[in-house]
Symmetry: C2
Subunit: 229 residues, 2 copies
Amino acid sequence: MKLRRHIQCTDCPVKCDVHRTLTTCNTFPDSPMSFHASFRKHERICRQSCGVSHAIYLVEGIAKLYIEGINDHNIILYLMKPPAYIGLLSFFQAPVYSYSVTALEDSRVCMIELDFLRQLYLENHALLLSLNEAFGKSVALIMNKLISLNQKNTRGRVAESLLYLADFYSSDRYRMPVTRKELGEMSAISEETTVRLLTEFRKEHIIEIEGRDVQIMDKKLLRKISDLG
Amino acid sequence: MKLRRHIQCTDCPVKCDVHRTLTTCNTFPDSPMSFHASFRKHERICRQSCGVSHAIYLVEGIAKLYIEGINDHNIILYLMKPPAYIGLLSFFQAPVYSYSVTALEDSRVCMIELDFLRQLYLENHALLLSLNEAFGKSVALIMNKLISLNQKNTRGRVAESLLYLADFYSSDRYRMPVTRKELGEMSAISEETTVRLLTEFRKEHIIEIEGRDVQIMDKKLLRKISDLG
DNA sequence: CGCGAGCTTGACGTTGTTCAACTAGAGTGG
DNA sequence: CCACTCTAGTTGAACAACGTCAAGCTCGCG
């Protein structure tokens, strides 16, 4: 991790809620209330059961948000690309993270002083409401995950993950940002089963896959497999 | 369901956040902004994928909050007793419920006009923050559920459910508010497996159980089973 | 008294995990 | 530059865990 202390919102590629609030209210603070940090691929951005010190906002790169279980047995809840709150779910409630976030590509985040943000949303309703909305969306995602992990078979879950990635990249042809093991963790199944199912899908001409390059050939069928799972 | 239109906060056994807000601000509205509704055991209080019309607050009774899956294959996320928000998770985000709630005992709820509540929390920060806090707690519960359903074996999950009930009733001796099937739905396992595991626990003198009356004999061991599960 | 809901147990089959072995490619140091 | 090592991916075989089906049981209620 590398820090960049003296960064201004004006230098930042992402115009986030905080920036918008400060602009409209014209209340930029005198002393800097945030800084940027860079993370290399595979570096952990925040860690389950560690204290929450800053609100974290993903500015650049791709990251996975996951729960760390026993025996390296993680569950990836979702992937993130900018702009996205990282420290959101833990923000309103917990003093410690209930999940971890790790960079899948070299990434950059903005770390905002918690006290500053608290002060800010006490003074500004719109900000609090927009934080809430983002919060609500994350919850909806997690609820869906809970359903699909417990009601679909592995075939349906892998199909879902492949469709999720297509949606993530807005394309039926993409390069997976995850290993086979991680693709398994998105669906809470073992690496081996994941590989077998990918092979199945390939042999059935539902997808083409070479290494991490995926092309969805029969999206309708894939969706059917995901839904009926 | 039976309605009771003309109810005042002063008549209500629960002094909820809304009541507290109205009291401190002394801004009780002229026209009633809420009413009470009674539900018999087994009656559904709100239904997955139906529109959210009111904020619902549980005043009396016990209810289960669950996701409806395919083939009567539900997952119970948690139980509720007063005071508890029912329509909370859907409140900030979704226009439709992402879950159902059904009364396990005869229950009474307070239904508050959504618009009224929105207006109220726009004017009152403390209310919005306390709604947020309750929201955050629910999310934490769901995260835990997601972890345990996917990482523990069935033995650990049933142990967890039994401990959950002990905590729910603040006693190691309680009468289960749920059937065997529903106890299974709390752990996302089949009714039969649930029964078998209860029998195992009884034979191992970890619990005593007769019908729905449970007494936890070896809480330490049960907790160990739940943790290691 | 009979019926149905809730509970219990046995037998069986399926699903998916785990262990193990092998391959290919990428990165590293002598 | 080449051997080495490590990671990622792939496949097979054996096993364990659960779900499903089926049958019977008890108790409360109409």
